[in-house]
Amino acid sequence: MNKKKRGKLRIIFLSIFCVLFFLIVLFFTQTRKITYTPQVCKDCNVILISVDTLRADHLPCYGYYRNTSPYICKFAEESVLFENAFSQSVNTLPSHMSIFTSLYPFSHGVEYPFENTLDKSILTLPQILQIYNYSTLWFGPLDDPMLSPEAGFGRGYDARISNVLSFAGVCNNTPLFEWLESQKSNKRNLFIFYHTYQVHVPYIPKVDLFDNTSRLNFSISDFITKEYDIIKERAYKNETKFLSILNLSTVDTVGFDVSTPNLSEDFFRLNYNNLTIKNREALIKAGYFPTNFEVFWRDINTSDKDMLSYVVSLYDSEINEADQCINSFFEELKKEGMYNKSIIIVTADHGEEFMEHGNIDHSQLYTEVTHVPLIIKIPNSPGYKKSGMVESIDILPTILSLVGIPHPYYSQGENILNDTARDVIFAEFSNKYLIRSNEYSLLVDDNGTTELYDLLNDPKQKINVAKDNPSIVKSLMTRLNTTLQYPRYYGISYNFSSNIDSKVREDLFKTGYW
């Protein structure tokens, strides 16, 4: 009896102790934990949306004054918004490959169109998800050299469907909705890569939403005319070469059937939409086909401030159209009851520059081009913002962690829903490198140019303070060199036809792309 009583007392005493202990533990974990770590969701769909060329600071949820993206920002309220996400390059090809492989560009080695192909030993995100029985869809351009199947973007998809109508940058979700319908009967999780060039040059919005000055009259038809003009100009400069190029493109029967140099505008227009990747490749290789960037900016005076701000308003209107298009996708997902069963990521491969640093398009490593939106919606998880610096290469490991799949061994990113934040981020493009901490950004190139910016006092990166801060330069340089020692996972080179020499390749790359 006595023993029993003592036992009871002990139980009570211990129980109180245990409860107290538990409460203390709870208290500490609660106060320390700032974020919510989501459960692994093995039944979730994964939807990765890449809005090509969307700079973060042009979205109201990233502080923009224009309401360019009401829907994406509403979506952001129920998602994790990464305030300081940076892309690994400023060019569609290497940057997307970094997203798909969790490797820095110098590590995956896919940096030049037509030239590099991803090593077979590296699996892309859809390939990994396919192993785990996801039904995978590519919804984007099918024959774009920057996102070409040959480079490795074709791997891992059950279906590849084009979202490009007569012209890149027009909302066209119908094929996607049809595919979603077709997937209803199968029980597999879905992975959708949704890409849009909507906000990329040429900026030809349907509605001029933010500025009605109409300084620039530019229709799609005008664009094609200009493109034709440029080809013609270049062709007539050197007729022999033009002939051989046109003959080259006849190798592919679709597209231009131009065995004679009489390439009329009508003919060009007629065949424009049938241009295959091979046609374009042949023309680009020969230096005849202009980039979209060249066509669009051809007659714009970039030193005209009013004109520039008008162009920015066109870019903003395009963001708004992309926002509506993405929202129509969200609405469809909601209608089909899939929205709450999907991990949805909205991001961009790079931003865009409007003469902030003497240039247009996207080729420099300043904030306007490397700072990208990154918004991740996780089912049954509250929305919040994270301010720590993260990189595009973190997207793959984060997705895999969310669906409970081990990271690939080569992954250079991390699950950013953990409380880890990077102390520096890295980006590169065309022999230029960026190492950026919360306080400083260091930009160097192979010619020995060194720029250091004090981000706290000079967020626009106008004053190079490299000379006054040799020790900061040195320490960031050390970080850069350490990063560049990471393994390089390539060796196989995509067999690029012999009629293009390195000069042509370099020129092609320097001029941006079309």
Binding site: I11, L14, S15, C18, F21, D119, S121, L123, I128, I131, Y132, P406, H407, P408, Y409, Y410, P487, R488, Y489, Y490, G491
Partner: protein, 461 residues
């Protein structure tokens, strides 16, 4: 609810108990005797499950010591596997992965630990520094001091006919112990008795061979070498089931003879009155292939018959045997010996060692680790493998890119490659293996020199 509270209490008490009364099984005054039964396959030891009672001496130690029934060697041949015991790092890290580093007609350079990895401290060096008199007595060949095995040993005997047995190394060792009876010693005792290149001085008596065997084989090292070379050249050989039984009987005889030899050693050692102040570690560097995958000998593959080895640790005065089925690796042996000797080791040593001490496991803690193995065998193959704690195995052959995946629970003989049918497991294990390869500095994308790096003299000339 009450049950839950009890459970919680139990856990808390458990933690407190462990913390306050942590058992002590280290012994800083003890002798350490480390015995390598070269080429002993785990499944041929009676106390580890072999049907034939051919290992009474080993069994007696096993049944009164800690018996690790899932010990995996880091390699499938002597040089790299044994060097890992003494360095605590994987073969790719100690770099003694081949007999030669350079091997041309003009120039031949023997691989040596101190040249290839000058920053590595060996087990014998640490023990010597901590007051042990250190002696190694071996059968030469793959554990010759020239590779760096002699580092830290006061005495290292390797000057004998290559592939000698315990009959040679034991008397030398016993004489040395006798001379240093009053000192604290670390002994490495090694014999090739079970190895394909070994034969008893007076020949085999064929004690386990079926008397009806009419085949062409006699069990000689020459015959074994011929079959081994054929297997290497063509990938496989063809033997009749009688022949396989014959070679298995020869192997059993070798094991039985080694066991008897071990008994002699222990009896003599006991006479010196040192038994109750001695920690024994008995293991093997690798197993032996007996046609499980249509070859003889070892080194070429990383199947279980080659990497699953016996491991026994017996503490002074221990009588109660403990069977530990948790998978462990030979990479764990060096940290275990150090902890058993009560040596913490400086930070350099701690960061050097890639394994973890088995002492917590011996004290009842759970341990779930994957085991990694590798072999760069002559010019034939470069293989890497991971064997998971839950019995899956993935083998990657670098020169061909071939992948193999086995579920050892349902397919212990590793004959049903699941790489194309279980993609997820294949993916998971590949990530584990390649993560390990990166961590151990193995450049996956570098060019692999497929030159001739022979294991045995007289080859590739």
């Amino acid at each position: 609810m009450l049950k839950k509270i009890f459970l919680f209490q139990f856990i808390i008490f458990g933690v407190l108990f462990m913390g306050c009364t942590s058992q002590k099984i280290s012994c800083s005054d003890c002798n350490i005797i480390f015995i390598s039964l070269d080429a002993l396959q785990e499944s041929h030891v009676h106390s580890f499950g072999y049907v034939n009672n051919i290992t009474p001496t080993i069994d007696q130690i096993a049944n009164s010591g800690y018996k690790f029934t899932n010990a995996i060697s880091v390699s499938s041949w002597t040089v790299p596997a044994s060097m890992t015991w003494f360095t605590g790092v994987y073969p790719s890290q100690h770099k003694v992965t081949n007999k030669y580093t350079i091997f041309t007609n003009q120039k031949k350079v023997i691989s040596n630990l101190k040249k290839l990895s000058p920053n590595i401290t060996t087990l014998a060096e640490i023990l010597k520094e901590h007051g042990y008199l250190t002696g190694g007595f071996t059968g030469d060949a793959g554990v010759n001091g020239i590779f760096g095995f002699n580092a830290g040993f006061d005495v290292y005997f390797d000057n004998t006919t290559p592939f000698s047995g315990f009959d040679v190394s034991e008397p030398k060792a016993l004489a040395w112990i006798q001379k240093n009876k009053d000192k604290k010693i670390f002994l490495f005792l090694h014999g090739y008795d079970m190895h394909g290149q070994y034969e008893p001085k007076l020949g085999f008596d064929y004690r386990y061979v079926n008397f009806t065997y009419k085949g062409i084989y006699n069990g000689s090292p020459q015959q074994e070498a011929e079959l081994r070379e054929l297997g290497l050249e063509f990938g496989s050989i063809t033997l009749g089931s009688d022949d396989v039984r014959f070679w298995r009987a020869i192997y059993d005889e070798k094991i039985n003879r080694a066991d008897t030899q071990l008994n002699t050693f222990l009896k003599e050692y006991e006479k010196m009155g040192l038994m109750n102040k001695t920690i024994f570690i008995i293991t093997s560097d690798h197993g032996t292939e007996l046609y499980e995958h249509k070859r003889l000998d070892h080194g070429f593959t990383l199947y279980d018959e080659l990497i699953h080895v016996p491991l026994i640790i017996k503490l002074p005065n221990q009588e109660q045997g403990v069977t530990l089925p948790n998978q462990i690796s030979s990479i764990d042996i060096m940290p275990t010996i150090l902890e058993l000797a009560g040596i913490r080791g400086d930070e350099k040593i701690q960061t050097q060692m890639m394994g973890s001490s088995l002492v917590p496991l011996m004290l009842g803690e759970n341990m779930q680790v994957d085991a990694f193995s590798e072999t760069n065998y002559r010019l034939y193959t470069y293989k890497r493998s991971v064997r998971t704690y839950d019995d899956w195995k993935y083998i990657y052959t670098i020169e061909t890119g071939k992948e193999e995946l086995y579920n050892l629970n349902t397919d212990p003989s590793e004959t049903n490659n699941l790489i194309t049918s279980n993609l997820q497991k294949g993916y998971e294990l590949k990530q584990k293996l390649f993560t390990w390869m990166q961590k151990t500095g193995q450049n996956i994308y570098g060019s692999w020199e497929l030159g001739c790096l022979p294991v045995y003299d007289g080859q590739c000339t």
